[in-house]
């Protein structure tokens, strides 16, 4: 499987994703400069974390109009895999590939720490190796991870099993304290209706190797293979 990792000016997790794809998964990865127009035959496109275009206007708003995004949209429409992490998730919502918006954390501070997540749906290309209800640990690092979507859309997300991951307490309970950023119904990650475009705030690439004592992220990547 060939991965393409898009590099916007201001992306800063592109090298981390590249490392995991090549050194941990043993797959091929190419960097796709945002001004390019071809995906070079990639099976899965990763939109990595970072501060694309300095988060100018809104996070992801500028990147959503980069030349490469036309190809990414075409790839998504044809059923290809698109995986947005952190800023990548924000870009996907700005590009209209995923519903909703990511607002400022309620604490109005940047938060970098491990969180626990409950696998809400394992019936997707991104979570199929997990058990439903399984509790994962992954790091977050963001200023704007407070997910919001209007009511009708939320009902749709819930009914169609599009909510992948929700912030939870270590025992799996959904508590207010366990929600780090104020996200609606503790949403940490979602997929589109077709199930091939995923966006999530936690960083699976930061917990994919034994040296970090946590390989929950690796399982997420392996689900895509």
């Amino acid at each position: 499987m060939k991965f393409g990792i898009v590099v916007f000016p201001g992306s800063n997790c592109d090298a981390d994703c590249h490392h995991v794809v090549t050194h941990v998964l043993g797959c091929e990865a190419v960097a796709l400069w945002h001004k390019e127009t071809s995906l070079q035959g990639c099976d899965c496109v990763i939109l990595p974390g970072g501060y694309s275009h300095a988060d100018y206007l809104r996070c992801g708003a500028m990147a959503a109009f980069s030349p490469i995004m036309t190809a990414v949209k075409g790839h998504a429409a044809a059923g290809g895999l698109v995986f947005g992490i952190c800023n990548g998730f924000q870009i996907l919502t700005e590009a209209g590939l995923l519903p909703g918006v990511l607002m400022r954390n309620t604490s109005i501070r940047h938060i970098c720490r491990d969180v626990t997540l409950r696998v809400n749906s394992n019936q997707t290309r991104f979570t199929r190796l997990f058990r439903a209800g399984e509790v994962l640990t992954m790091p977050i690092a963001h200023n704007e991870g407070n997910y919001f979507v209007e009511r009708r859309q939320l009902v749709k997300l819930e009914e169609q099993g599009q909510i992948l991951l929700r912030y939870c307490a270590p025992d799996g309970e959904l508590t207010e304290d366990a929600n780090p950023n104020g996200s609606l119904v503790a949403i940490a990650g979602i997929v589109n209706e077709q199930g091939n475009v995923c966006g999530m705030m936690p960083h699976p690439e930061r917990c994919s190797e034994a040296i970090f004592g946590n390989r929950d992220g690796k399982k997420m990547f392996e689900s895509m293979l």
Partner: protein
């Protein structure tokens, strides 16, 4: 701008030059300077840029060693770590600007130190910050803490460089002068070090990065002055940071460095275009012609004075092989940053600056850059020190409830958990952070090898106030102990020396003593000082800070499979103490927090014992015997043991400790005797660890067992861990959220 206008004594004074310095300048020019030239010299000869009061003492520092590839004098020091790789690091202060405008001051401090590192050809992979604030109850402190922490994150996070540790401490002495010391380390190939020399007559001088604006003019001069009531007027001297441009500049520079067209490179930091052009020419023994009309500008109507002295951020000056300008242009175009050929290298040893075809500066390089004034300022200890040393610990009233003392200490701002701070920093990006903030040292992996890099920064400024020589030695010893406690070999040091007004003899004495103490300790640990920074004039209305020589130490972890972390691992493990408890309460956190006193003599430092304790700890870790190791320092043994119980991510785990030393319980629990490390080992490994310690000549004692939900020490302390954890973790959010 009128270049003919006469330079009056008022103008000279406003530029911070003494009458003698002005005379010296006229002699080296052979005429009187014009206003642009005077402006240039005022920054080049400022304390901040010229080190005129400190250079004479800094010569004492050990700066070389078998692994040192680049010592002081360049943008940063470089040390060999084997496998053809090297690390490049430096620490720098941004104290004055951060007090005036905390967010931008701290942010541009991070930006500046990052540029110092990638200028050398290294990709930055970690940052530390050593922060000092005033009393948390002081009306300005909350605003400063929030601004500085947000500013550090606001620059480091978008850059994608993890901030993995450092220090945060509070004391009244910083009420009027906070300290923001930023450290960055980068990785590079040992044979690909770039330096800031303008070599090769006729080579083009190229400007890349942000446009030049009017921000930060005379920032370096501001940083070389004490504060008074007019401080708010200085806000325009603080620069404004743009991490997005810096990120593009970083990638563009590293792409450029992967080729072979670059001759020399230097960042435009303090004193901007002035400092970079003079220093680059000086290092190569060459000259330079600059045409200011070609400098990319943010606004109209800037004078040559503005352009030469602007401290606009995110700019670099390059010297490139003649005829290869297009390669630079291509890369800058890709990253959407400005690029302009602004001059060329000459061999006449002069910097000449043209503005609209007119020569506005014509100065010899060497006298301005290399031979700046040098002062051996008078130094003598403050007479009050002798009185402060008068202290009898036996005369101190013993608190009735030592549990209460422990709770108070653990929730005091200096000892409380600092997660409120480091959670605002992305400390995991780049996926190298093996040991995160909060441990004795952070550990970063070096991808593609088994090696790790351990990082710590330390300084107990109350110690340095009471005894700057021993205080500085203890800071180096603690830094080395932190590295050893995680399994690393102490490798090298960078320092950031924060002091008051050097024109006062008692401050100069503190400086001289601290430098001598650092030099001695670094020789003993074989950790050369490869880079550093001096910040004087940390003083408001005549009141200076405690001397604060911050030590940032870099250690090499030979094998990442053999490291230790501070927290307990399993119930039933046996706790050992390397080192010896002493009746030493002078200068301690306990004495300050509980008895409100800052006095006494410092814990003594027996170097032989210190080295033996660290060696034993490292051997125990590399042989796989040690399951946890934690340095014992501020707050003493009780606080150290409490931290071992509270830091675990997998839930709290207590300990029961029985100490047989014949000491007053407060000295035993809270005394800050040096050279101690608390270990835990599996029961079956106790004999082996004791043997290792004895072989190395380190005192060792079995003191207790891991387990339970409380911390118990002799019959003096018994506290529930949940209560302790709550007090420890909520203290900072309560103060600053």
């Amino acid at each position: 701008m009128n270049l003919e206008a006469p330079i009056t004594p008022d103008i000279i004074r406003d530029h911070g030059l003494s009458a003698e310095e002005y005379q010296r300048l006229c002699e080296s020019l052979g005429r009187t300077p014009n206003i642009v030239e005077l402006g240039i010299v005022s920054v080049m000869w400022s304390e901040h840029c010229s080190y005129k009061s400190s250079r004479i003492h800094l010569r004492e520092l050990p700066t070389s060693g078998p692994r040192v590839l680049q010592g002081p004098g360049e943008n940063a020091g470089v040390v060999d770590i084997g496998d053809g790789l090297a690390v490049c690091f430096k620490m720098e202060s941004h104290n004055h600007p951060s007090f005036i405008e905390p967010y931008q001051g701290a942010a541009t401090g991070v930006g500046g130190i990052l540029r110092d590192i990638f200028t050398m050809g290294a990709r930055p992979f970690a940052c530390l910050n050593s922060l000092r604030f005033g009393n948390p109850q002081h009306p300005k402190t909350k605003h400063l803490v929030r601004g500085v922490v947000a500013g550090i994150g606001g620059y480091g996070n978008p850059m994608g460089i993890p901030t993995v540790g450092g220090e945060v401490a509070f004391d009244d002495c910083y009420n009027g002068n906070i300290l923001v010391n930023a450290f960055t380390i980068g990785l590079l190939r040992a044979d690909r070090i770039f330096r800031g020399a303008a070599a090769g007559k006729g080579n083009p001088v190229i400007y890349i990065g942000s446009k030049t604006g009017r921000d930060g003019i005379h920032g370096a001069t501001m940083a070389s002055d004490a504060f008074d009531a007019t401080i708010e007027e200085r806000r325009p001297t603080v620069q404004v940071g743009d991490p997005f441009t810096e990120k593009k500049l970083l990638e563009a520079c590293l792409e450029l460095m992967a080729g072979d067209c670059l001759v020399g490179i230097q960042d435009m930091g303090a004193a901007g275009l002035t400092c970079s052009s003079f220093e680059m020419a000086d290092r190569a023994g060459m000259g330079m012609v600059l045409d200011l009309d070609r400098v990319p500008r943010r606004e109209e109507g800037m004078t040559p004075y503005d352009v030469m002295l602007s401290e606009s951020q995110e700019r670099m000056l390059l010297v490139v092989q003649s005829g290869r300008e297009a390669e630079v242009r291509t890369i800058c175009d890709k990253w959407d940053i400005d690029m302009a050929v602004v001059g060329y290298v000459t061999d006449d040893g002069r910097v000449r600056v043209l503005d609209k075809g007119e020569t506005v500066v014509d100065m010899p390089v060497a006298p301005i850059a290399g031979d700046a004034p040098l002062y051996n300022r008078p130094a003598s200890p403050s007479p009050e020190l002798t009185q402060l040393h008068q202290f009898d610990p036996q005369a101190l009233p013993l608190p009735r409830d030592l549990n209460d003392v422990l709770m108070k200490l653990m929730s005091s701002p200096n000892l409380a958990c600092k997660s409120w701070v480091w959670e605002q920093y992305d400390h995991m990006v780049m996926t190298n952070t093996v040991v995160r903030p909060g441990a004795d040292a952070a550990i970063l992996r070096v991808k593609g090898t088994k090696k790790g890099i351990a990082l710590t920064s330390d300084c107990n400024s109350r110690f340095c106030f009471l005894d700057p020589y021993l205080g500085a030695m203890l800071a180096v010893a603690e830094a080395a102990r932190n590295i050893s406690a995680c399994g690393g070999e102490p490798l090298a040091v960078t320092d950031c020396l924060n002091f008051g007004n050097p024109e006062r003899p008692e401050v100069m004495w503190q400086f001289q003593q601290a430098v001598a103490g650092m030099a001695e300790a670094c020789r003993q640990f074989h950790t050369p000082i490869v880079s550093g920074n001096v910040s004087f004039y940390n003083e408001t209305d005549g009141v200076g800070i405690y001397p604060t020589p911050t030590i940032a130490m870099v250690g090499l972890v030979p094998d990442l499979d053999r490291i230790a972390t501070p927290w307990w691992k399993d119930a039933g493990d046996v706790i050992l103490l390397l080192g010896r408890n002493e009746l030493e309460l002078g200068g301690s956190e306990y004495l300050k927090q509980i008895h409100g006193q800052v006095k006494g003599t410092l814990p003594h430092l027996n170097m032989e014992r210190e080295l033996a304790v660290q060696r034993a700890c490292r051997i125990g870790i590399t042989r796989g015997v040690v399951k946890s190791a934690h340095d014992c320092s501020e707050g003493g043994l009780a606080v150290t043991l409490a931290e071992c119980s509270l830091m675990r991510r997998q839930g709290l785990l207590g300990a029961t400790v029985e100490l047989s030393d014949d000491l007053r319980p407060d000295a035993l629990f809270f005394g800050e005797a040096a050279s101690r490390i608390v270990l835990s080992v599996a029961p079956a490994s106790v004999d082996l660890m004791v043997t290792i310690a004895k072989e190395e000549g380190a005192p060792v004692a079995v003191i207790g067992k891991v387990g339970g939900r409380s911390l118990v020490m002799n019959n003096g302390i018994q506290v529930d861990l949940a209560d302790l954890h709550d007090a420890w973790t909520t203290a900072l959010p309560k103060l600053f959220s």
